[in-house]
Symmetry: C2
């Protein structure tokens, strides 16, 4: 694939496009204009055309986008056709939730195995994924080329486990620990899942509504008072 | 607070600013220019000034931003000083992980109670949060004004539970179910946590690196071949 340096914001919009296109396809829609797509996503048509232009020519003047073709192109941009291999480290609540409910394969990712230190978990399987001892991790990674590790260990172990992972050739981590694991001048790719960002956005929208309701109530009150005079 | 219509992208950047400012404060930094802040966040200084200008005047020409003051202003914008009340519905793996490890109070939110249908969970407490029966939800919400519900039920129950919540006055949902729960012309505020968006961004960065490495290897190969001639 043609690689140009693409801004982080553009990259972050790609999964949103993908979700929207899946939704459109689910509703039997085969074709969409950039203005319609923009409207549904809260973006301008020119923003959308600009985003896609980072990766080549996708739409057709006057026709718009073919939903299925665009979906496949975005999936390829996102590396969903590469079959990246992942291991999961730490079968606590979050780890277990991902193993049980998150469909890695739907996103082009193979979850190969899980690792934990708890003897009661080692040797068990959840949803077809075997849980190995952390003691076997180095050996496992030697035998199974792995592209990324899902880090779902307790906070306290985050740094130590990251160290083990990088020493054994892991170059990318999907980090659920809320601990900053990017070492100085490390080439490690880290993607943090910040639950708090999502909660705070929600908190913003709730606050906005509360303020609007309070302003409306104050207006009504003022009108009542002025009509009394 | 002054309320103007602010774009979704600006709102979504606010939690990132907050995290960065907390990080700076943690390193003992009290003051930062918009260009330095921009550099650390991958944004232009004018973008940053524009974002903040949606909410008033924050920095000072020639001085930059006071890290602590800016942090408090952003926290207020995000509604973190409002003490929003939350209930959690569905004490499965994700629900349990949030109860045990996610510090709601750090983000200005009070997690009041949890609800489940499982008799083995009802009456128990995790991390000081009591688990009630779903049968008691309506009554509980009548007695405890609640701003949002954290939805961590299985996919199959997402729509039915949302219906119960909205009928009982819940106006905002933090949705972990990956099910689209926004009804037609509903005024419900829904914030979806999409794990897949995060994984796909990671997948993009891994793919980018793989392509760069392949291109580098091809270049070396070509050079070898041409020097043989």
């Amino acid at each position: 694939m043609r690689r140009v340096k693409v801004s982080n914001n553009v990259i972050r919009r790609m999964p949103r496009y993908l979700r929207k296109l899946d939704e459109l396809a689910g509703h039997g829609i085969n074709r969409i204009s950039s203005s319609e797509l923009g409207e549904q996503l809260g973006l301008t048509p020119s923003q959308i055309r600009q985003d896609f232009s980072c990766f080549g020519e996708f739409g057709q003047q006057g026709y718009g986008y073919n939903v299925h073709a665009l979906r496949e192109q975005i999936a390829a941009i996102l590396g969903m056709d590469r079959g990246l291999n992942a291991v999961l480290i730490g079968v606590g609540n979050i780890g277990r939730a991902l193993m049980d409910n998150f469909c890695f394969s739907a996103w082009g990712c193979n979850l190969l195995a899980a690792f934990d230190v708890n003897p009661e978990l080692i040797g068990r399987e959840f949803n077809g994924i075997h849980i190995y001892s952390m003691d076997d991790l180095a050996e496992y990674l030697k035998e199974h080329p792995t592209d990324l590790a899902v880090l779902t260990v307790p906070k306290e172990s985050a740094i130590a486990v990251t160290d083990i992972l990088t020493r054994n050739g892991i170059g990318a981590i999907w980090n659920f620990t809320n601990v900053d694991i990017t070492g100085p001048n490390s080439s490690l790719i880290v993607e943090n899942l910040h639950f708090s960002d999502s909660l705070l956005s929600l908190s913003y929208f709730i606050s906005e509504r509360k303020d609007e309701e309070a302003a409306r109530a104050a207006r009504v009150e003022r009108q009542k008072n002025s009509s009394k005079k």
